[in-house]
Symmetry: C2
Amino acid sequence: MATPKMTDSSCSIARSLGVLGERWAFLILREALTGSTRFAQFRDALGIAPDILTARLATLVGHGVMTREPYQEPSSRTRYEYHLTPAGRELHIALGSLQQWGDTYLPWPDGPTVQRRTRDGGRPVHVGFIDDRGQEVSPDDVVTVKTAAYPA
Amino acid sequence: MATPKMTDSSCSIARSLGVLGERWAFLILREALTGSTRFAQFRDALGIAPDILTARLATLVGHGVMTREPYQEPSSRTRYEYHLTPAGRELHIALGSLQQWGDTYLPWPDGPTVQRRTRDGGRPVHVGFIDDRGQEVSPDDVVTVKTAAYPA
């Protein structure tokens, strides 16, 4: 999935999946959205081989989804922390929509493994279409309109 | 991406990408959301080999995302139409979120190729988090809470 060809596509869905569609990339993002920042945290949570984790983190940094910052603990060598950029935090909506769809239409026997709630107050949230007046719109009432930039 | 293993995962994002994450699968869904229903329409719009299109449509039907219905035109053999199920139409939100992200953070030089609007009135729509009072919530104000079903 994560080929340069896809991120060169005129289709923005293809470009997004070029970054997000690789299995480890979205598992790393899922961990980052729950607060993981350090190489060892990602490695331990995902059970991923260190060389693959290094490569996938470099791709996410290269696409502007995460930043890489040095840190140093006493009498240790320099290590790196990875933080989501605004672009990476905005992926929360895309990951949330995929999660919501999977929980509804491909349910797991034990139920959803995570829920999304407001930081203040813990109100349940879902992902949906919103119009320019702030009103939720059903997917059936949304149409796709091609622009002049649409390939002939 | 589209291995049985992924659709067996306890992670609903992995299950969703197991259906959606294959390049042709989401391009077929994109065409279906703009109104294509017939084999020849998908084939001509996507330039996909017929045997691959047949296989991908069968996968989408098998996952309950599309239905396959026979139709017949005068003095032609029976052909099939493919229609999105409610589960398939609900994928509009996930595809919309990926598109919105790609248009914002991986922009195409000519601008977005499609826009999403309300069916009645043509108001612009975007994808976002919505709380149980119908209020939009910023991704930064949404937290992920693990449930009892979360794998140990």
